[in-house]
Symmetry: C2
Subunit: 153 residues, 2 copies
Amino acid sequence: MESHLSIDEVARRTGLTAHTLRYYERIGLIAPVARAAGGQRRYAASDMAWIEFLLRLRTTHMPIGKMQTFAKLRGAGDRTVSERRQMLEAHLTDVLANIEAMRQSAESLRVKIAYYRAFEQSLASNSNTDEGDVHETPKSLRARTRKTARNRR
Amino acid sequence: MESHLSIDEVARRTGLTAHTLRYYERIGLIAPVARAAGGQRRYAASDMAWIEFLLRLRTTHMPIGKMQTFAKLRGAGDRTVSERRQMLEAHLTDVLANIEAMRQSAESLRVKIAYYRAFEQSLASNSNTDEGDVHETPKSLRARTRKTARNRR
DNA sequence: CTAGAAGTTAGAGCGCGCTCTAAGTCAAGC
DNA sequence: GCTTGACTTAGAGCGCGCTCTAACTTCTAG
């Protein structure tokens, strides 16, 4: 185990800032880290692993309050394993629902983008076949959209 | 078009609060809504469609600032269609990356949950086969975990 | 006509997750 | 010994996205 990473090095590796790492420790998300002479923090490999786990919880939008609860359980030893598992299972359920919601919304966005693209196509063919007046009203453009769209297939 | 939905009815249907609906209108996310005599808002079907679109942007974590930009472009008419499409495409790219990150983190959680479950199994079989001392040290439990796990297949 | 419910506004307040400041300590290099 | 620079702490501040308050008006039912 390399127990010799400075806070800046950990910041660089995790993408967190040194400020945030100290903040996480202060609020109990990270257990007190070992110190070098002079009081500087020295992170062990196990600290890194825990931080990476925290980042996965963060990526999946677990609120800090729950992470604190989880961290506290972890600090209480093996007899909390079952409780921790239940927390993770509940969270995972939320996460999967969340992913599905995002997936569906992403699909809607894709449809909208496709609609916009078709609309732009109709604008383009209009300006090629018409007099090229770019500033005609939306209504008239939209009215012609269907025709030109039909023309293009 | 039914242009007769009260703010409470819209709140009920969208899951937003009346407060939030007014807030969205105030900050320009929603264009000024039609009013009944007495000044009460009456939402049209087109307002509902737009709100539902906003909710999809929100579900996919688009910040309000960008939604405002998008709403402004929309208000500027058809000539902003291409810009709007580009915004949505950029956003969709972010969203897909986000979904993938969540998916991967969710997978890690699943692995961790499986690990916890195996650990709990080992605890259970220990208390069945041993003297039933629940308060032995984590180290000894973990040492026996592999053996009992191997025994179970 | 009156009571009560439901709406209106401008603006203050809040919870979250950092983010930064100020003042100080410490180790290393000149 | 002194400077430089990286670190330390407690605590203030901030941006986001709402959320709520206070004071007021209007509509509906009895």
